[in-house]
């Protein structure tokens, strides 16, 4: 295996020729080796950790029931569960859901949805809030904390309010305004959308691209155009809610396979083809495999070469959701196909969003012309307003920087910086003894806490000391694999990373979560 230094040097040499918009075949055997490694697997927690986790929830639930009882007999008043003016109506919320929100989530919800008042760049200004009624409502204190932003999806650092890109967006605001108030199929198609779609197709190396106004809606409204009743969708068990929602709406049968486990996927494909739809007795019309490029809670990267091999062998179709991987991985920042050196035309549909690496909003689907034409004609987003022109301009500006057409080598420098930051941060966290999940080159870096009770203190303490982090617990993760997630950005410089690592190390020592420390 080449050492890291050699890889960096190779990348820097390649970057000089990028200026001519050349696409480099990364062709890294190294990456393919990594793909077969056990990424995404984590050491199993020992029995006493598991026991303590369940005990935590048991205590919380017990206290919740005591509270409920006190409210029931009238000793306590709970504003959150009283509804006025609706006597005789059926109860609106299911018991466990509202119980969880009231007595478990409510205790820690100050660690989520913190408001900010600046650009979500490398540093972010988080507004301080205080609650006078046990987290039911918050009021802003008027102060703000300047923290290193390890929470926003700003991989390439394009969340900025100055620069040539912003100036072009400004001009577009003057030219087109903000609102369009019309849809794809009526008068909502602007020349700037056509420009964006053609440029993006060039950037990805595919035949055609169609763009939409919202990333979530791109999945939930378009899966129905190519899958329906009688089709089978095999999705990774950690697929995003938008993919599951879109699959359900399409009417196709959705089955999941174990996360990134290609053997399990192959078994399921073989069984599905051989047995067909056991409910109707018919063979499946088609099988679509839906995976994500980078999984936002696991930090793992899909095993694309193996997926392409399986899809070709069994005549299935492959749909890759590159929300977190486009722009963020690959030596040219072109996503998972660039990362593995695969041909993007081997994937039937590449989907992604413009929210993360492009600092804009919206989503796209890319693929062969006849498939994209079908999506253009039958998308359910035909009823939704098309993307705003300044947003489209922001994406155009960013793509031009990434392919080197504007701002010289700024694009490749950002991509390299992100990659270096990612590798450095992961290396240091591992050295400190944290359990770091995910692929070594994924800019999404989760560390395992195990205990749910640690999530909000970590986030709160982190913010007090100057880092903004994201905590994830049940139901986004399982009961025992609660974690803190850091998102790398090329806007972070070495000092910021050092400072962040020091704070994380401090908190790690205080909380005793350096599980792998020898």
């Amino acid at each position: 295996m080449k050492n890291t230094e050699q890889v960096y040097n190779n990348r820097r040499n390649k970057s000089k020729s990028i200026a001519n918009n050349g696409i480099h075949k990364s062709g890294d055997n190294q990456r393919k080796q990594w793909a077969t490694r056990n990424d995404g697997l984590r050491p199993h927690p020992s029995w006493h950790i598991v026991l303590t986790c369940y005990l935590t929830f048991a205590i919380l639930i017990a206290f919740g029931y005591i509270n409920e009882f006190l409210t029931y007999i009238g000793l306590k008043r709970n504003k959150a569960i009283s509804e006025t003016n609706r006597e005789g109506y059926a109860c609106l919320y299911g018991t466990w859901q509202s119980f969880f929100t009231r007595y478990i989530y409510r205790r820690v919800c100050d660690a989520f949805s913190q408001p900010i008042c600046s650009v979500p760049a490398g540093n972010v200004h988080v507004l301080d809030r205080k609650s006078d009624d046990y987290n039911l409502t918050f009021r802003l204190t008027g102060n703000k904390t300047n923290a290193i932003n390890l929470g926003s999806y700003n991989y390439l650092g394009f969340a900025q309010n100055t620069g040539s890109g912003t100036d072009r967006v400004l001009q577009t605001v003057h030219k087109y305004g903000i609102g369009i108030a019309s849809t794809h199929h009526e008068l909502g198609k602007l020349d700037i959308h056509i420009e964006l779609e053609e440029l993006f197709a060039r950037y990805l190396g595919v035949e055609s691209v169609v763009t939409f106004g919202m990333g979530f809606a791109t999945n939930s409204t378009n899966i129905a155009t190519f899958a329906g009743k009688g089709c089978l969708i095999l999705g990774d068990e950690y697929n995003h809610a938008s993919l599951k929602s879109g699959s359900y709406i399409s009417g196709a049968t959705y089955r999941s396979f174990r996360h990134n486990n290609m053997n399990d996927l192959e078994t399921k494909i073989r069984d599905s083809i051989a047995l067909g739809d056991t409910k109707s007795g018919q063979k499946w019309k088609k099988i679509v495999i839906i995976v994500e490029g980078v999984y936002s809670m696991e930090g793992s990267i899909a095993n694309l070469p193996e997926l392409i091999r399986l899809k070709k062998k069994y005549k299935c179709y492959l749909y890759v959701d590159e929300a977190h991987s486009i722009g963020a991985i690959g030596p040219n920042g072109r996503g998972i196909t660039d990362f593995y050196g695969c041909d993007p035309n081997d994937i039937d549909l590449l989907m992604g969003t413009f929210t993360k690496s492009f600092g804009a909003s919206g989503g796209y689907i890319a693929g062969p012309r006849h498939v994209i034409d079908r999506i253009r004609a039958y998308t359910q987003s035909a009823y939704a307003t098309n993307m705003s022109a300044p947003i489209a301009q922001q994406i155009i500006s960013v793509v031009k920087v990434l392919i080197g057409e504007t701002d010289g080598t700024d694009g490749i420098e950002r991509i390299n910086r992100l990659s270096e930051n990612t590798k450095y941060f992961r290396k240091r966290l591992k050295e400190m003894g944290f359990i770091v999940l995910g692929h070594p080159e994924s800019p999404v870096i989760p560390i395992l806490l195990y205990f749910p009770a640690m999530i909000s203190p970590f986030v709160r303490l982190g913010l007090n000391r100057g880092i903004a982090t994201v905590g994830a617990g049940y139901p986004a993760t399982t009961l025992t694999t609660n974690r803190i997630r850091f998102c790398m950005s090329s806007a972070h410089n070495q000092q910021m990373l050092e400072r962040a690592l020091n704070i994380i190390s401090q908190i790690g020592d205080e909380f005793n979560i350096k599980y792998l420390k020898t």
Partner: protein, 473 residues
Amino acid sequence: MEMSIKWELKEMFDSLISAPKYHLALEGCLVMCVLWLLFHKSYKPESTKLTEKEKEELIAEWTPEPLVPDTPSDHYALNPRIVTSKLGKRIVIDGHDCLNLSTHNYLGFVENDKCIESAIKGLRKYGVGSCGPRGFYGTVDIHLELESRLAKFMGVEEAVLYSYGFSAISSAIPAYSKVGDVIFVDEGVNFAIQQGLIASRSKIKFFKHNDVEDLHRLLLEQADIDRKNPKKAKVTRRFLVVEGLYINYGDICPLPQLLELKKKYKVRMFIDDTCALGVLGANGRGVVEHFGVAVDDIDMICATLENAMAAYGGFCCGTSFIVDHQRLSGLGYCFSASLPPLQAAVALTSLETIENNNSVIEKLRQNCQSMHSLLKDIPYVKVFGEPIAPIKHLRFANNTNDHKLETKKLEKVVQIAQERGYALTVARYLDDSEHLLPKPSIRLIVNAILNDQEMKESAEMISQSFESVLNLY
């Protein structure tokens, strides 16, 4: 004792020997049947164990369908009309400068200078994207301000802001209504609501468009079912979903009568004010203000900021008890990036403008009424929609029932209008996905920035275009 047992056995043996032969044969058969039933292998259709060789054969001979069927190359979505200017009062389509009668710019705020200025201020302060969902540092102070201003404007406790108008109502319905619940819906609702209904997996009962009697009939049926099973009825949630101003018909829902039924049968009511916000009511608060109904009686109002407010995004508002639930259960809220701050800034400015001065809403209403009376007089054209609604559906007066032919005729009208400098559009639907496909029509949208002269000329042009197409066919 032993004697009696021995005696019984002997009696049994005697009766066995003395029984007729057919009797013995029958009993023998029955015994064989019982033994067979006990010991034969039971039929298990699920565990068809295939050998590896059989599996390989099945896999080799399976041919999937192509990913998508071919799309006709003359489909209108593949040959869109390209706009190269702001979609304000005038709009440049395919090089033609036209008067805009087709986009939902009801109050003309797309070109409002204050809105543009606030967008630029927002851009200079926050950049473009918010780079995260609401739960993870994507909540910007401007979102909180917009939510509280919207709640105050609508006269409710709380508002939840979504980043896309389409996903506001389509995420809200499945957040409350689950498997086993019942939703009563008007059959003419828009597609976003239909998506929400599918995602909710509940029992959907459509009632005829704006037909309160039909809804009453359905509610009585449900009451019968509830009487038979009161335990289940107690936990079955019931919802009623209507639009304030229907985009597919241009008419207004009969809110007071619907409210009576809602209160009588204890059904929760959700209203989609996508086209009514900024249009109906003296101050633009939607259909609730239009009828003067207490907003407390409505469980939730959803609306979009993409039409009258000329911004992006949508919101759901109501009591905190109801609406706060979406912050954890609304898929389009939790799992999607938040609204870009510059778009929220535009929405705030539009909101401020109509709060301070409702004259633009008054002007819109006058324009709608004038346009309606102008169009009503055209002999070949039939106008559908309320006089005060900005949405007017135009169809040929002698309508054949041929969907394709009518669409073709209307597309020709649109083409002629564009050549003469007027931007119209045929209302586009996904024919195979709509629950109740409306008849083909031109959706004409009146806005507040048209003057009387322009409306008169538009009506004349429409008359001429319809006439020339009639002569062609």
